[in-house]
Structure formats: structure tokens, C-alpha cells
């Protein structure tokens, strides 16, 4: 056989090993090199290029997805509101908002100087049309407007949203993809998916190559243009993490996420590395709390025992390379729902865990099957070992990447290892603990929690609401509804001249980057 016939196979087989070798080579070869530094210019004509891993699936306001894609769409579209880094709602296109006493009517007042990229004014009817279309079009944002019964625009600057029952997360939604403002006239046009009429600080330039590089130019007629120091924003789609890092080192992008082992090397090469300690929570979701598949999980003592099985600090150190923080709760540590006192509820105590299992009637433990997904794979040996130590035998069933989310909804698995992206407390409750929550597939509920959730939904005062969310948090931890393991962090490396200053914990946007003096 010609040697050539096996070449591709060899390439594939050695791909993973080669990347590791490359990282090693890179770490020895480049420690002395400097990134391509631009002049230390603090003018407003700087350009920034950011590397992301996946392109926006669509720029149609009804089809937006959150995550890294927001670097593109949040530059093109204005949102009604904004979430700041303390998770507080701030004005944006809407300069003020007011709830009715029964929390069923939300009235938003728009700024008077809003304009589309075409130069036409943004009116309340554009806002109402965009929201109405999102509400009635299948897409990731649609469920968020499930409680909205009508949207009206009584005058050019007022938008009124009617709700069937209070929606504590509505303001948060309106500060993210649900709250973008599209142009009523072109919303339904095919062109909107790739070249929408924008209301935001930037406009897509002709240099954009869909799926590869999004080039956006600042709109000087945008009402808040002064808040955006970069004249040009380039968002480059680079799937491969090594290629991203190469692009950063070669000066082709000025900001990219890096992996923990690259930190020292990046710092040595003159990049500024900033750690965001908590962007997601690594959680063993104990979905089958009703005991439909594994009766043992219905017992709170069993769930508590599982919480005691993990050496969280060690997992953060070894598997997350120290970028993160051990935790026994899932709420954003920057939010009012977080309670530091809960961090020592269980601790790492396999002996006590075995005792609890025996008390619950499972002295010999039990077995359960969990889905092996792209998320769980690197953690599986540790999870298997930790649970085996207290007598729980785990079998992992492989699930194709595209079925990762469906593995939860399928109700085939009693527990799933999951990354939950931190968000506002209301939204986390809606995603994790509400009866219809995605991470509550067996629809477990309990009168005590139901009452708590209802009270918090009807509470108009923000500070009181935070206190109530703290109670919800405490309840979920004491009842061991899940087994949180760690907050997972990320590392941003930026080239000289660019500063990473996260302005929001929930939505990544170009606002997170500033011009730095060095």
C-alpha cells in the first residue's frame, strides 16, 4: 500500500497529541516574543478585534442567541435596558420604566434621540413590533415572553407591556436579546437574518464575510456613541482554541479567551490577562428528585450525601486549572441571592455521606446512569470515583454533541453534569427550579418552594426580592436539590492598548473592552 493512503488517518489520530506538543513548543518558543503592539493610542479611532468560537446563527431579532454571538448582535442592536456588573438593571434605549402596583403592566419610556442605521427615528411602534414578533415566532427568546399578553405603543415614546402574571425576570430579558430593537418595516425580510437594519452603536460594514469575520463601524449618530471608544470592531470566528491563541500572539486579534496553562506564557509575552472567577456553575443536576428512575434520589439524605462526595477544591485545582472557585450553591456570587454562609453546608465528607446513605436505607449504595456529553467528559473519572467512594455506581451513556441539551429534556437520566451560565437570580430560578424549568425535567415541586417563588414574583421592591431569593437559595441548598461543584471562571487576554473591563456578568458585549494607556 502506498504510504499516502494512511496519511489522513495519521493526521486525525495525532491531532490531539500534536496540539499538546504545540502548546509545549509554543511555551518554550514564544516566551520572549512581544505581541504585535499597536501604538499606545488612546484616541477614539482605535480598532479592536475579538476572537469568538461560533458565528451568530441569525441576526433576526426573533432568532438571537446569547453567548459569544452577542459581540456581534449587541453591537448592531440597541437593547431597551442594560444589566450592569452588579447585576442591576440600567436604562439604555428606554430611559425609564415603571411597573403597575400589581406588577402586571410595565411601561417603558424611550429616549427621544434614537435612530436606526438608516437615519430613520426609532419609535415605540418599532419596539412593539419587534417584541410582538419575538413573542409569536419560534426561537430562543420566545419562551421569555410567555407571560406577555399584549404590547402596545400609545405614543411615539411609550411602550406598554401587559402580563398575565408577574414575571420577575422580564427587565433582565429586556436588557438582553429579548429587548433588542429592530426596524418594524424590515423585520420579516430575508435580508434581516444577515444584514439587519440596526439600532445600535455599530453598523455591519461591507467588509463582513458571514461566518468568518464581522466588521462593524461605529455610528457617529448613535445617541451614546461617546461610550464606545473603538471606531471599528472586528469579530473573528476562530473555532480552534490553538488557532485563537496563535491569532492573538501574531497580533491578528487583540482580545481572546485563553486556557489556564497559557496564562503565564501570555503574561510573559506582554498581554494583560484578567480572570473572571465565575461565569458559570458546574453542577451535578439531580433531576430525578421525584425518584421516578432512581427512587433513592427522592430522599433528601441521599441528595445531601451526594453533596458530600466531592472534593470541590481539588476539582477546581486539578480540572479547572485553578480558574474558578469551589461552591455549594448555584447563584451568581455577585448577586443578592448569594449567601457566603451556605458554602460550608456539606463540605467533603465521604464517611458522613456513607452514613447518610445507610440512614436513608441504602447501606450498599445504588446505581445510576448519566449521559456522557461534551460537557461531562473531562470530569467523568473524578465524578465516577467520588460517587463510587460513597457507594453510588455510575454508568455513563454516550450522547452525541447535538443531543447534549436534549439529554436533559429526554427524562432518560436521573442526574446530569451541567454547566449553568450565571444570570440574574430570577432567571436562574426560572431555568433551574421552577416547575417548568429546563433543569427540572421531572417537574419536581414542593409547596414550600412554590410559596417562596410566588412571593418573590409578586414582590415589587428589589432589596426585599434579593432577600427572598436568598431564602430560595438556602432552601435549594438545604434540600440538596442539586449538587453544585464549582463556579467556573474564564481568562481574557488582551493586547497592549486594549483593556478588558467586564461591564455585565450576563451579556458579553463590546462594552467590555476599553482603550488602555499601556
Amino acid at each position: 500500500m502506498f504510504p499516502v493512503l494512511t496519511r489522513t488517518k495519521t493526521l486525525t489520530r495525532t491531532a490531539a497529541a500534536s496540539i499538546a506538543v504545540a502548546a509545549l513548543l509554543a511555551s518554550t518558543a514564544c516566551s520572549s516574543s512581544e505581541p504585535a503592539a499597536e501604538s499606545q493610542n488612546t484616541s477614539r479611532n482605535e480598532e479592536i478585534s475579538i476572537a469568538i468560537q461560533a458565528q451568530p446563527a441569525s441576526l433576526d431579532p426573533a432568532q438571537l442567541a446569547e453567548g459569544q454571538q452577542a459581540y456581534v448582535w449587541a453591537s448592531i442592536f440597541d437593547t431597551l435596558l442594560m444589566v450592569d456588573k452588579d447585576n442591576k438593571i440600567q436604562p439604555s434605549a428606554a430611559e425609564s420604566w415603571k411597573y403597575s402596583e400589581d406588577l402586571r403592566t410595565l411601561t417603558l419610556k424611550l429616549r427621544s434621540d434614537l435612530k436606526f442605521s438608516t437615519g430613520d427615528p426609532v419609535t415605540s411602534s418599532d419596539v412593539a413590533a419587534t417584541l410582538e414578533r419575538t413573542r409569536t415566532t419560534a426561537g430562543q427568546q420566545q419562551p421569555k415572553l410567555a407571560k406577555v399578553t399584549s404590547i402596545s405603543a400609545p405614543d411615539a415614546s411609550t411602550v406598554v407591556i401587559q402580563l398575565s402574571s408577574p414575571e420577575p425576570s422580564l427587565l433582565n430579558y429586556l436588557a438582553q436579546a429579548t429587548g433588542v430593537i429592530g426596524d418594524a418595516d424590515s423585520l420579516a425580510s430575508e435580508k434581516t437574518k444577515l444584514r439587519p437594519t440596526g439600532s445600535g452603536p455599530y453598523v455591519l460594514s461591507d467588509a463582513t464575510v458571514d461566518g468568518t469575520e464581522y466588521v462593524m463601524e461605529r455610528r457617529e449618530d448613535y445617541w451614546n456613541a461617546a461610550a464606545f471608544p473603538f471606531k471599528t470592531v472586528k469579530v473573528k470566528v476562530i473555532q480552534d482554541r490553538t488557532a485563537q491563541y496563535n491569532a492573538l500572539q501574531a497580533g491578528e486579534v487583540k482580545a481572546a479567551l485563553i486556557q489556564a496553562p497559557q496564562r503565564k506564557q501570555a503574561e510573559g509575552a506582554g498581554f494583560t490577562v484578567k480572570e473572571v472567577q465565575a461565569t458559570a456553575a458546574l453542577v451535578l443536576v439531580l433531576a430525578d428528585r421525584k425518584g421516578d428512575l432512581v427512587p433513592a434520589l427522592a430522599d433528601v439524605k441521599v441528595r445531601q450525601a451526594i453533596n458530600m462526595a466531592f472534593d470541590r477544591a481539588q476539582i477546581v485545582k486539578a480540572l479547572l486549572n485553578g480558574v474558578g472557585k469551589p461552591t455549594e450553591q448555584v447563584f451568581d456570587p455577585n448577586s443578592g441571592a448569594y449567601d457566603p454562609a451556605l458554602e460550608d453546608t456539606y463540605g467533603f465528607d465521604p464517611e458522613k455521606a456513607r452514613k447518610l446513605l445507610a440512614e436513608a436505607g441504602y447501606p450498599d449504595g445504588f446505581a445510576m446512569t448519566m449521559p456522557s456529553t461534551v460537557i461531562s467528559q473531562s470530569f467523568e473519572p473524578v465524578i465516577t470515583q467520588a460517587l463510587a467512594d460513597i457507594g453510588i455506581k455510575v454508568t455513563w451513556e454516550p450522547v452525541p454533541p447535538q443531543n447534549t441539551a436534549s439529554s436533559i429534556a429526554s427524562k432518560k437520566y436521573p442526574a446530569v453534569l451541567w454547566f449553568y451560565g450565571l444570570n440574574s437570580a430570577g432567571r436562574q430560578v426560572g431555568d433551574m427550579y421552577a416547575p417548568e424549568a429546563f433543569l427540572n425535567p421531572f417537574k419536581w415541586n414542593n409547596p414550600e418552594l412554590d410559596t417562596l417563588l410566588e412571593t418573590v414574583a409578586n414582590e415589587p421592591d428589589e432589596a426585599t426580592r434579593d432577600g427572598l431569593y436568598k431564602k430560595v437559595n438556602e432552601y435549594t441548598v438545604r434540600q440538596a436539590l442539586n449538587a453544585p461543584i464549582a463556579y467556573v471562571g474564564t481568562l481574557w487576554a488582551t493586547a497592549p492598548g486594549v483593556d478588558f473591563l467586564p461591564t455585565s456578568v450576563v451579556l458579553p458585549t463590546v462594552r467590555d473592552f476599553g482603550v488602555s494607556a499601556r
Binding site: V4, A15, A243, N403, A405
Partner: protein
Amino acid sequence: MISYALRRLGAGIVLAVLVTMITFFLLSGSLESVARERLGSAATQESVKALMAELGFDRPAIVQYLDWLGLVLTGDFGVSLFTSQPVAPAVAARLSVTLSLVVTALIITVIISVALGVWAATRGGVADKVSQGLSLVGYVVPGLLIAIVLVTVLSVNLKLLPATGFTPFAQNPGKWAASIAIPVIVLVIGGVASMAAQIRGSMIGELRKDYIRTLRTRGVRTRSIVLRHALRNAASPALTVLSLEFIQMLGGALIIENVFALPDSAPMPSTHRSKATSPSSWASLSSVSCSWCP
């Protein structure tokens, strides 16, 4: 001859239809994931079902396939659910990147391989050893590793060539050449490793044949014997290798393109299978509604 060509063409069409049909039926099992990906993790089962009905996924797979085939035959490949781009031009744009890479690499591979193979076969001795040594090294070292070393040295450290990205030829020929230089070098190293050895072997075989001796006795110049007679005959098996090399390079290019973030034709849908421990690696896995991916 014509009937042979028609038979082959017919077989080719049947094969193409079979491949699309098998692929279609294999994928039809995971259509629910497609709907869920569009709707996000918060979607209820009912809305997933509703969207599936809207997209026509609730029809029998054979009906869906025939429907698709009918549209494809009229030149309508539809719009991607994952990228919102019309499929045909999106694939064409990406394929042109891969093809420009592979064709360039193939031409250079042929030139170098012929020179190296002929040189080794006619000179023997040290030249032969050097040629065989180079072939062996080119074959043993994985292309991906060569790619990463080259990008580290030439792009990251020396900043001579771009580390990522692609510039179309029509836009700027100079930048185009720079953007494909390293991937082409990698593909050429792999190609030369196998082709040079093939040409060397065939050339040695040819040069030992009687007709060459006859030519020599007639006083024909060595240069003419080698290039006009021996090489022409040795080219036939080499051409077979060349066609195989083209296919191999297409496969290799898709992997190499990933290292250079070229807009390639392989990983178009957003299902990236990284196993890295950092959560951002899952950013592209949009089925994980990734509100936390920074």
C-alpha cells in the same frame, strides 16, 4: 468507449444519490435536536414539536428526502438553519478556499517531487539517500505538527506570514499567497514525501529497461533519455498516485485549515467537539444555550 463512459457516469450518479440518501436517513434521527437547537434549552417539548411540524420534520423521512432531492435538482439547496446563509453559495465559497489550497499544493508537489525523484534516481549515492531521508521525515512527521511548528515560528515569532484567515485571490493576490503559504507548505511536505518516492522508484525501474540501453548506445544525450523517455513512461504510475494524493490532500486540508482558521468546508454547522476543560470551548455548541459563554 462512449457506452463505457456513459456506464461510468450512470454508476457515479447512482452512487451520489445513494450517498445523499444514506446521509439523509442517518441524520433524520436527530431532527429533534435541530429544532431544540433553534429554540434553545428553555423550549418546551410542545414548541419543539410545533417547530418540527413547521419545518416539515414531522413528515416521513422518504418524503422529506424526495422533496429535498427535487429542490436540489432545480439548483435550490435551501438556507442553512445554523448560519442563515443560502447553502449553495456558502459551500461554494468554502470549497473554493479548500480547492485553491489543494490545487496550489498539488502543482508545487508535482514540481518538487519530479525534481527530487529524478535527481535521486539518476544520481544515486548521496542524492538518493538525501531524497529518501527527506521523504521518510515528511511521511513520519504528522502534517498537523509541522503546521503548528511553522505557524509558531513563521507567524507568531517572526511575523512573516499570517497565523489565521484567508484573503481571496481576486481581492489581493499577494495577501492570498501569504494566507495560504503555510497550509500549502504543510500539504506539499506530505505530498512530496509520497510522490517523490514513487517517481524515484518508477524512474529507477525505467532506467534499467532495455530501451534505455538502446537509446544510450545510439548516443542520445542522458538529459533527453531521462526527461523525454524515462520520465514519460515513469509518469503513468505517478499519475495514479497523484490522483490519490488529491483526495488525501482534500482530507488533510480540512484538518490543516482548522489550525489556520481558514473558512473551510468542513465544520460549517456549529457543533464543535472540543474536549478542553474550559467552558468557553463549548461556546460553539449552541445546543447548550450558552448565555454564560463570555
